[in-house]
């Protein structure tokens, strides 16, 4: 049977694959480490700068407070003036104000309109003559008599460094996530391709081609090792199955000869004893041995068909074969009061005439066998795209879905109810013929009844003589 429409599943959504999940997990860990690393850099640079600024401001405040304590208000003013002069680019900020924040001295026009935090720190924008508004940080110190002293620094460099590092952090994080995601996708795609190759091979093997093996890349990686192991296992399975089949075929082959002789002895006994002397008993024995021989022959026939490759095939008029089958089985159908009809169009296929006839006979025979009197069996030959299809439709009880897959197994009988005689090899033979012709064999419900379709590639379209009935 061709592994067509064999339900090849869509490749699993990539984010549901475990390789992708591993990659995603790895990406998250990587992102966390990037954050930690950049956080450390931030703390060591911007943090260091900020601490240094704060320390400088505090040292200065302590110095100024000391001057005030020693030399009073005037001394403090003097010192501030000196310091402002010593800092020409104006990065230092000083402001000395009354208890109600009226400026007394310093390089700020007015007291910043902000409230300091509990430790006396405050950040505020400061008007710079050249750069406009620049960030500043200062600390408030309350002197004796309730006078306010504000000492600060221009922190634009610090703020710029901080912003730069923050940008670096965001970009680094984004980039590592994006690269991790991309890497994860590529990696899981790559791994999935290898796994899909294994899946593909297993599907084909399950479809009946036991000779298939998983391709080897020759790189000696772990996938190649896995493939090697699986291939070795498949070799072993094939060997075992071959062995089992060989034994079965040998049994059938070896028992056929003595059984034929037994049959001949019975025949001779029958003719020697004459018709009257227990003729019926011997005749039954002969019939019984014929039945056994037929089973063995069918088994061997299936084995032969299966073991041969595609035979050198001739052009066969499928409609003519179908016509001959109907011609042959019309009488059998009439005996059972079942209508046997043919509905054929001329089609030609490449194949073995006798085997195709055998397959159709088995299908029609089954149809008649399982169709109750008054029912009908239709044998249709039609073209379906590039395929030429034979369809045998009956009005019998059909086959339950659970059995459909299994009916082509050797000796598989659907239990109980049917109780028809037969050797359980008829459909196995059909399946073997189908396989040899690269044909697709399907069982479906005809509601009521069963419809069996056998589709094989059409040969070049020529119209042979139509012997439709």
């Amino acid at each position: 049977m061709r592994p067509r429409g064999g339900g090849k599943p869509m490749p699993a959504r990539i984010w549901r694959t475990s390789t992708f999940r591993f990659a995603a997990l790895y990406m998250v860990l990587f992102a966390i480490s990037v954050v930690l690393l950049l956080g450390l850099v931030y703390w060591m640079t911007a943090g260091f700068m900020a601490r240094q600024t704060d320390e400088t401001i505090e040292t200065e405040i302590m110095g100024l407070a000391e001057q005030y304590r020693r030399r009073g208000l005037n001394g403090l003013g003097q010192v501030i003036g000196e310091r402002m002069r010593a800092d020409p680019d104006g990065s230092a900020i000083y402001l000395f104000a009354t208890p109600d924040y009226k400026p007394l001295a310093g390089n700020l026009d007015q007291w910043p309109p902000l409230v300091a935090d509990a430790d006396g720190w405050l950040n505020f924008p400061r008007q710079d003559t050249e750069a406009g508004e620049v960030p500043a940080r200062a600390r408030l110190f309350v002197l004796r008599d309730g006078l306010h002293l504000l000492v600060g620094r221009d922190i634009r460099d610090l703020v710029r460094t901080e912003a730069m590092i923050r940008r670096g952090l965001i970009w680094g994080l984004g980039l590592s996530v994006a690269l991790g995601l991309l890497g994860g996708l590529l990696m899981s795609r790559r791994i999935n391709r290898r796994i899909e190759a294994i899946n593909e091979t297993s599907r084909e093997i399950m479809n009946g081609d036991l000779s298939r093996r998983i391709p080897d890349r020759g790189s000696g990686d772990e996938f190649d090792k896995l493939s090697e192991q699986l291939n070795a296992m498949l070799d072993r399975i094939e060997e075992l199955m071959e062995g089992v089949r060989h034994v079965t075929d040998n049994i059938a082959h070896d028992l056929r000869t003595p059984l034929t002789r037994l049959r001949t002895r019975l025949e001779m006994l029958q003719s020697a004893a004459g018709e009257d002397l227990d003729g019926a008993g011997v005749a039954e024995c002969i019939a019984e041995s014929d039945q056994l021989l037929q089973t063995f022959n069918a088994l061997l026939r299936i084995a032969r068909i299966e073991s041969h490759g595609p035979t050198k095939s001739a052009s066969v008029a499928l409609d003519q074969i179908a016509g001959d089958v109907v011609d042959m089985y019309q009488a059998v159908a009439e005996e059972k009061n079942v209508a046997l009809e043919a509905d054929v169009v001329p089609v030609t296929v490449a194949g073995d005439r006798d085997l195709l006839f055998q397959a159709l006979v088995n299908l029609v025979d089954n149809g008649i066998k399982y169709t109750p009197p008054g029912g009908s069996v239709t044998l249709a030959v039609a073209v379906d795209g590039d395929d030429c299809c034979v369809e045998v439709r009956d009005t019998g009880p059909g086959i339950a879905d659970a059995h459909k897959e299994k009916v082509t197994r050797r000796f598989y009988r659907i239990d109980g109810a049917r109780g028809e005689k037969g050797n359980g090899l008829g459909l196995s033979l059909v399946a073997a013929v189908a396989q040899r012709h690269d044909a697709l064999l399907e069982f479906a419900d005809a509601n009521p009844g069963l419809v069996v379709r056998l589709c094989l590639p059409c040969a070049v379209q020529t119209a042979p003589t139509n012997r439709a009935h």
Partner: protein, 225 residues
């Protein structure tokens, strides 16, 4: 009749020899190809049974050699190979019939007798065949018994024609499948029996003497008495 058996398997050879003796025929046995060819060429036989695989000279070569020297002794090929291609090769070599091992002895004898009969046709181009009061007209495709025209279907006519051409002989079911329907296959049911019983009901029903007989364990025979 006198039959030459060319068969290297001693069991099969003695089985055939014993059966032929019991069926009232005589037989000679050759155990290899060279002896077989020598005997077939030097003596006169009614028929020969040739195994396909033989030591020395294979069965098909023997037949080919005999036919080349214009020896027309009917030859039945025995073989373990049952594929259609093998059968065709056997018949192309000049064999007259092909039987796959193992075989029922009745099948072998029926085929052998048919071969011998075919080799000596009574009338070559008769357009009517007759047995007792049954007569078939091959041109008009008509069947009469006791002068009365019988209504008969095309398939039944072909079956009857085959039986008529082998009248007086046992005809097996396989011979009918091959001769009437021209397909090599295993019928699942007794499809031949059904056809025979329908034919019988047409040609024998209402007449005193039955002509179509069933030979138990072997097949059928169209014969007068």
């Amino acid at each position: 009749m006198r039959v030459l058996v060319i068969e290297d398997d001693q069991d099969v050879a003695s089985y055939i020899g014993k059966g032929l003796r019991e069926a009232g025929h005589t037989s000679d046995h050759a155990a290899n190809g060279k002896d077989g060819l020598f005997m077939a060429a030097s003596e006169s036989y009614d028929a020969m049974i040739v195994d396909r695989m033989l030591p020395g000279l294979d069965g098909l070569s023997i037949i080919r050699t005999l036919r080349a020297s214009d020896n027309r002794t009917p030859a039945l090929i025995l073989s373990a190979l049952g594929e259609v291609d093998d059968r065709v090769a056997g018949l192309q070599a000049g064999g007259d019939d092909y039987l796959v091992k193992p075989f029922a002895f009745s099948e072998l004898v029926a085929r052998l007798e048919a071969l011998v009969r075919r080799a000596h046709p009574e009338t070559t181009d008769a357009t009517t065949l007759t047995i007792a009061d049954l007569e078939i007209d091959l041109l008009k495709r008509e069947v009469r018994r006791g002068g009365r025209l019988l209504e008969i279907k095309p398939t039944e006519f072909r079956l009857l024609e085959y039986l008529m051409r082998h009248r007086g002989q046992v005809v097996t079911r396989t011979m009918l499948l091959e001769g009437v329907w021209d397909y090599h296959f295993d019928p699942q049911t007794n499809v031949i029996d059904v056809h025979i019983s329908r034919l019988r009901s047409k040609i024998d029903k209402g007449f005193q003497r039955p002509l179509l007989h069933t030979i138990r364990g072997a097949g059928y025979k169209l014969g007068d008495g």
